[in-house]
């Protein structure tokens, strides 16, 4: 029953999306508004239809309907209810359906909120959004159907007796419940973590969110309305997509830190990079779009960035789901590779052809030229250059070179962290320097002397901090300089906020708190942006501390033995082998952590043995200063081997992430109507 309901709802959603495309395009061609309205209604219908289909799958997961091959694949009788629910995005088929649902929610939101205001763009924006949605629903229906069921063919030879199909084959019966329960496989162990409850939905929201700016940009190109209206319609959507993508990346880092057991949070894995690439382009776009809004410049460039962001999302989806690049994330391989590649190429090509057409017609000409090289808009262009260089370098290392090498040289290559760090670090340094200078530069231009004047105080404070670090604590010059560059950007952000508050106090006589709140209320985008900058600098400090000053040792301890590392001591107490309720065997070491002779924590690093793979779960003692992070490598009751990390300032990465999210939320929060 659930399978039939899901199939019917999916079919209805596909029909609605396809009808919306045809009706809106016909309406745009004939100018008949009723066709547009009909198309809009069909587009809005996709959301409840997909909600119904997803609901059917969730109920099947929660009620252990193992005849559905997806339920059989991702759960078993030992799976806890929370992970039964998160199993919705635990493998390819469910995650594709979930992706479609999120996309339809975004699409319906964009239609509902922009229908009146952007009526000239809607006849084209709806078909673009619906084309993306129809593609993903089509994949769910025809290639990766989450409602496929197991069937036993009565008359078939033994080896062909069992098959998975959405429709009931002739002379087929369902397998027995006992057989299904006994054979159910269960979720990928890597996904049995609380981080997986939130990380994929956030990342998906970020990915699908970029469909909206792309659809409006292509609609603007198709309709020939190349004013700033597509930007005003999508600016907030871009920020929301960027917010979710940032949150997804941060949560992904936290998941890697907790679950993958290597003491780090970013491994330059190709699939991590696939999510990072749209973030880079999106960051470039949310900066450069300000130049178009304020100065009427970079129209062509902004179009290119929006197309590139959507294209990067689609390519990343293709790379993750097709298994073209292997990594820990490529758990979801299937036959979706070629259709996804074709869809990515088709959508990108369509957008680029429209862009070239309008550009050749001279319709994307800037309204102003840059008046001065020393202006905020010039520095924003430089900022874009850095983000695009980062994009190209990371794309090349993650996808370009491995694919080129395998295709043309017949050699498999792995591009590791040290290669990425070689070219990424200087670009990030340049980004932080610009993040410090650009907010102080004026729109339209300013003299060197004036810029020097406003930079004097932040620079002086930065130099003092670096000198303090060099004299007081940091024995590595590189680290002191790194902290200096990052702190410079932070000081400028704080300086700008303080300057705004002081100006309000002076001119309006407000007290500091009131001035602070009013400042953010009056210009939430600008000051939300400064909070984002502060978040990025806090992340930067965490990254420098936890990479340059990380301590890593591996040591074997006899039971009762203690090892001293820096001002910590670690004592091996006991070892336990136990079986969890879900059937996995756990090897748990018990340790006591002491600092300056005082007991500060009991730690229990463990190795979980799953049929698919063993997993090392770290024991960690966290403070703002550092994380003491222990992995069990092997052991028994007599002796055990541990890998121990001390990660200084690593928690600032997460706190900085929270600041970044807070700042983006402030910037994207809708202003009340006056």
């Amino acid at each position: 029953m659930l399978a039939e309901l899901g199939l019917a709802a999916l079919t209805l959603a596909l029909a609605g999306a396809l009808y919306a495309i045809v009706a809106c395009l016909y309406g745009a061609r004939t100018g008949e508004r009723r066709w547009l309205q009909s198309g809009r209604n069909a587009a809005l219908l996709t959301c409840p239809a997909l909600l119904l289909a997803t609901g059917a799958l969730v109920v099947a997961l929660l009620t252990e309907q193992y005849q559905l091959s997806y339920v059989y694949e991702v759960t078993n009788p030992g799976t806890p209810p929370l992970y039964r629910f998160t199993a919705l995005w635990g493998a390819q088929r469910g995650s594709l359906l979930f992706w479609s649902l999120l996309m339809s929610c975004f699409t319906c939101g964009a239609i509902a909120l922009n229908w009146r205001g952007e009526s000239r763009l809607m006849p084209y924006a709806i078909p673009i959004m619906m084309a993306s949605l129809a593609f993903f629903i089509g994949m769910s229906l025809f290639i990766e159907n989450p409602f496929d069921r197991w069937w036993v063919l009565i008359d078939a030879p033994v080896e062909q007796q069992v098959l998975s199909s959405a429709l009931i084959p002739p002379r087929a019966v369902p397998p027995t419940e006992a057989n299904l329960r006994a054979g159910a496989e269960g979720m990928n162990p890597l996904l049995r973590h609380f981080g997986m409850v939130i990380h994929p939905p956030m990342l998906y929201l970020g990915f699908v969110g970029f469909t909206i700016p792309f659809a409006f940009a292509v609609a603007a190109l198709a309709a020939g309305d190349l004013s700033n209206s597509w930007i005003s319609a999508t600016r907030r959507w871009s920020l929301i997509a960027w917010l979710f993508l940032s949150l997804g990346l941060i949560l992904g880092g936290r998941w890697a830190y907790d679950v993958l057991g290597w003491g780090g949070y970013w491994g330059w894995d190709p699939v991590e990079n696939a999510a990072f690439l749209p973030w880079l382009v999106g960051t470039a776009f949310i900066h450069s779009v300000m130049i178009q809004e304020k100065r009427g410049m970079l129209k062509l460039w902004n179009m290119l960035l929006v197309i590139a962001a959507f294209s990067a999302v689609m390519f990343g989806t293709f790379a993750t789901r097709s298994g073209v690049i292997d990594s820990v994330h490529s758990f979801a391989r299937s036959e979706v590779g070629f259709p996804m590649l074709a869809f990515w190429a088709a959508m990108t090509l369509l957008a680029l052809v429209l862009l070239a057409w309008r550009w050749r017609a001279g319709e994307l000409r800037d309204e102003r030229q840059f008046a001065s090289l020393l202006s905020r808009e010039s520095l924003f262009v430089l900022n874009n250059v850095i983000f695009i260089a980062l994009f190209v370098a990371i794309f090349w290392g993650s996808f370009g070179l491995p694919i080129t090498s395998e295709l043309f040289l017949g050699k498999e290559v792995t591009i590791g962290a040290q290669t990425f760090e070689f070219y990424v670090v200087p670009l990030f340094v340049a980004m932080y320097i610009l993040m410090g200078i650009a907010p102080l530069a004026a729109w339209g231009g300013m003299t060197v002397a004036r810029l020097g004047g406003v930079l004097r105080l932040p620079l002086l404070l930065t130099v003092l901090v670096v000198l303090g670090l060099a004299i007081g604590g940091t024995d590595l010059l590189v680290a002191a300089l790194g902290y200096g560059v990052v702190l410079f950007a932070a000081i400028v952000a704080l300086f700008e906020i303080a300057r705004g508050v002081a100006a309000r106090r002076r001119t309006l006589g407000e007290d500091s708190l009131r001035a602070f709140v009013a400042l953010f209320g009056r210009n939430q985008r600008r000051y939300g942006g400064y909070i984002v900058h502060l978040g990025v600098t806090v992340i930067g400090i965490g990254v420098i501390g936890s990479t340059i000053f990380q301590t890593e040792v591996q040591h074997t301890l006899d039971r009762g033995e203690t090892i001293a590392i820096q001002d910590y001591a670690l004592r091996y107490e006991d070892f336990l082998r136990a079986q969890a309720v879900d059937g996995r065997l756990m090897n748990i070491a018990s340790l006591v952590l002491l600092r300056h002779g005082d007991e500060v924590a009991h730690m229990r690093p463990r190795i979980d043995e799953y049929p698919q793979l063993p997993m090392s779960i770290a024991g960690a003692h966290s403070t703002l200063e550092n994380d003491f992070y222990v992995l069990l490598i092997r052991g028994d009751r007599q002796r055990a081997t541990f890998r121990i990390y001390i990660n200084p300032l690593v928690n600032l990465v997460w706190w900085g992430g929270l600041l970044l999210i807070l700042g983006t939320a402030i910037a994207a929060y809708p202003k009340g109507r006056r």
Binding site: R33, S119, R120, S227, G261, W262, G267, D269, I325, D326, S327, V328, G362, E363, R365, D366, E367, R368, Q369, F370, A371, L373, S378, V381, L382, N384, V385, A389, V392, A393, W396, G397, G400, L401, T404, S405, L409, K411, E412, V413, T414, I415, G416, A417, Q418, T419, F422, Y423, L427, E552, V553, Q554, H555, T556, L613, M615, S616, I633, T641, R643
Partner: protein, 168 residues
């Protein structure tokens, strides 16, 4: 790590009655065992950090828990015990299994492509940026051609009126 003293030991062995090849073999094994005890986990990890798992692609060898990786780590330990340098060990793995076992390709062409392409891309991006600045610097503050603007404004007004009419 201390090195085995093969010459001194062999000099003693010359006086022995057992055949030299047999003595050499026993000594080599003894040296390997002695050094093996000295090849610490940290030394193995230092090499393994620069290599990648042969099974789970893109997972550094020192972090991977698969049986294949455990075997490779033991082989690294043996090679360290035999006195090989970190680079020689990595080269031996690359020679047998190819470039994908290391994070920076060893093949000169691939290594050049790895390093040069991103630098070229950065230079290209900077070049485009510089050209844009140059164009900007050469031009004065100006607006788009007035004829175009007038035409687009007229079309815009016409569209607005059509929209308003449609709403009525």
């Amino acid at each position: 790590m201390r090195a085995c003293p093969p010459r001194a030991v062999l000099a003693m062995c010359r006086r022995a009655t057992i055949a030299r090849p047999l003595v050499s073999l026993i000594l080599a094994l003894a040296c390997a065992l002695l050094a093996s005890a000295q090849a610490s986990d940290n030394a193995v990890n230092q090499v393994a950090q620069r290599m990648y798992c042969p099974v789970c692609e893109n997972i550094p060898l020192d972090e991977c828990l698969t049986a294949a990786c455990q075997e490779w780590k033991e082989e690294i330990r043996s090679q360290l015990a035999a006195g090989k340098t970190d680079q020689a060990i990595i080269d031996s793995f690359v020679a047998r299994f190819g470039d994908h076992v290391v994070g920076v390709p060893v093949d000169p062409l691939l290594r050049a492509l790895t390093i040069i392409m991103p630098l070229l891309a950065t230079a290209l991006a900077l070049g485009v940026g510089a050209l844009t600045f140059r164009r900007f610097a050469a031009g004065k503050t100006q607006t788009a051609p007035s004829a175009d603007r007038a035409r687009s404004e007229a079309a815009y007004r016409q569209q607005l009126e059509a929209d308003v009419r449609a709403r009525r």
